[in-house]
């Protein structure tokens, strides 16, 4: 569904991504792992168009999307959440999600009908599915960090994406919140059949739920494979885990 081929990106002298490769098949739950600064977020920004790659090719459903602006990539069916909470702070929770739903229904430029009566059902259903319905009228900026991260995901679902990209969905969450979020992701992938690409620091979580794992190190792809393959891979153990086999049996 998604192919990233030999993508490069540098900022001045610093090379953030240096030959990254990634394949996501339809219906898969794929994780990208790697130490801080490995280039995971940059890679996601390249896929969703926030950044343009210097070299390489990105294709979605067989069509090249490398040079497209973010809003066009979104219209093609890729939704994303951000690592650092990126919501509409002054708007209510409901309005946050409604903006995305309206965009999906191509109603954003509608000048004449009142917004409060449009896309209400879809928005409420979405909020219901991520358990934020009881906070619908709260101002988004006043939510707890955990809820804001969930709202992030809800906003990205507003466009009914085929591929959902989550950049560290559990960053800064308490263990309980992390567990709840992971359950949500599992449910989105399982019952709703969404294809999900995410990155995450918690190895236990990654090896538990991901069907395919891509390992990044210094901006490069070391390997992409099934969790067992990645776990057994000597190169990964040496380079990324520094020889300590903490993933054994994880």
């Amino acid at each position: 569904m998604l192919q990233v081929e030999a993508v490069h990106k540098s900022f001045g002298d610093f090379t953030a991504v240096y030959g990254a490769n990634l394949t996501v098949e339809h219906g898969e739950l794929v994780a990208v792992i790697g130490p801080n600064g490995a280039g995971k977020t940059t890679l996601f920004n390249l896929i969703t168009g926030q950044l343009k790659p210097d070299k390489g090719r990105i294709a979605f459903k067989g069509e090249e999307i490398t040079e497209l602006p973010p809003y066009k990539i979104c219209k093609r069916g890729i939704g994303r959440s951000f690592q650092i909470v990126n919501i509409f702070h002054r708007l209510t929770v409901f309005e946050n999600v409604q903006v995305a739903v309206l965009s999906h229904k191509r109603q954003s430029s509608n000048l004449f009908s009142p917004a409060r009566s449009l896309a209400v059902e879809e928005t409420n259903r979405l909020l219901e599915s991520v358990s934020l319905a009881n906070k619908a009228s709260n101002i988004a900026g006043s939510l707890s960090h955990g809820d804001q991260k969930i709202l992030e995901i809800a906003i990205s679902l507003g466009n009914e994406p085929e591929l959902l990209i989550l950049d560290e969905p559990t960053a800064g969450m308490s263990p309980e919140e992390t567990a709840a979020t992971m359950a949500l992701i599992k449910q989105l992938a399982g019952t709703q059949g969404l294809t999900i690409l995410f990155c995450e620091h918690d190895m236990e979580v990654v090896f538990d739920i991901a069907q395919s794992i891509m390992v990044m190190h210094h901006g490069q792809t070391l390997i992409q494979g099934k969790p067992e393959e990645v776990r057994r891979n000597k190169e990964v153990q040496d380079a990324y885990l520094g020889g300590v086999e903490i993933v054994e049996g994880g």
Partner: protein, 318 residues
């Protein structure tokens, strides 16, 4: 208009204000009819600016340029052609909107302050053209004695005409602000990056907002000509743009009606304090300093904040 008030109360408030405004000319001397007419024109101008500044978060720093373009277009059509007035009244705002489209097209490619600086430069260019082109625009003399149709010969009729146009424009602006377009515009103000990621063409959306805002600025410009029967290059000078900007801040740029209140305060200050001293802006300066310290959300924002607990109490009791 006051989102904390219930719908029916809002409606009654608006109706009440309208009734007062409708009977105003019957009770007041001509001077006060004129002042209120001028406040209406300025209020529409400030409201149009607020669509871009308050709702869009765009640094629309030279809104006066479009006001002037609307006024000049209308004035030139009345003096240089024999077309009926209403044609000019439609063409004026359209020319203002086209100017907004041209200038905005460049501006939306820049962010924040750069947007504002480019707009001041391009707007000042229009001012310079108007200021210098004696044979066409009358240069720094402006255009005087612009003819008015017989219907608009009395100051009362002018008052009612301006009020009518103002009410129509405000209703249109209200619908726009509450539409999906308006909701999306506010979302872009809060977080343009996120909007791009949910599939919104941010630049096109901002440009549309600028075109709408400059159209209404053009309407205000045409109304100015109906009221004053003259135009002069100061209408496009950047200091006027600054004044409108202050009206939005003063009234409360996160409220719908705030800019109107700001416009009323500033026009009244200019007229009543300006009678005693030409340095009335000094008092404006002091008011602004106090505003920044004590009413960061503007006068309307402050009033709503004060009203909120009382309304809450009332609804809990009721």
């Amino acid at each position: 208009m006051f989102k904390e008030l219930s719908d029916s109360k809002q409606l009654w408030l608006v109706v009440g204000i309208l009734i007062v405004l409708l009977i105003w000319p019957m009770l007041m001397p001509r001077f006060y009819i004129y002042i209120l007419s001028l406040i209406f024109v300025t209020a529409l101008l400030a409201m149009s600016l607020n669509l871009t500044i308050g709702y869009g978060g765009l640094f629309q720093f030279h809104h006066g340029a479009f006001y002037g373009v609307g006024a000049y277009t209308f004035a030139l059509m009345l003096t240089k052609t024999s077309l009926p007035m209403w044609v000019g009244f439609v063409v004026g705002p359209i020319v203002a909107a086209v100017t907004g489209l041209l200038i905005g097209w460049f501006c939306v490619r820049l962010s924040q302050l750069y947007f504002g600086m480019l707009q001041i430069s391009l707007g000042s260019l229009i001012w310079a053209i108007v200021f210098r082109w004696y044979t066409f625009t009358g240069g720094d003399d402006g255009i005087h004695g612009i003819p008015r149709p017989a219907v608009l010969s009395s100051s009362n009729n002018v008052y009612y005409f301006i009020l009518l146009v103002l009410v129509i424009c405000l209703a249109a602006l209200y619908v726009i602000v509450k539409s999906p377009f308006g909701a999306t515009l506010q979302a872009i103000r809060d977080n343009p990056q996120r909007c791009e990621a949910v599939g919104i063409n941010v630049r096109r959306h901002q440009l549309t907002a600028i075109v709408i805002a400059t159209f209404f600025a053009g309407v205000a410009g045409a109304l100015f000509v109906v009221l004053e029967r003259f135009v002069f290059p100061d209408l496009l000078f950047w200091t006027l743009s600054l004044e409108i900007f202050i009206m939005c801040l003063l009234g409360g740029w996160f409220t719908f009606a705030g800019p109107m209140l700001g416009a009323a305060i500033i026009v009244a200050l200019r007229i009543f304090v300006g009678k005693y001293t030409q340095y009335w802006t000094l008092i404006l300066g002091v008011i602004l300093i106090l505003l920044i310290f004590f009413l960061p959300e503007g006068v309307m924002g402050y009033l709503l904040e004060k009203l909120k607990p009382r309304i809450k109490e009332a609804t809990e009791r009721g």
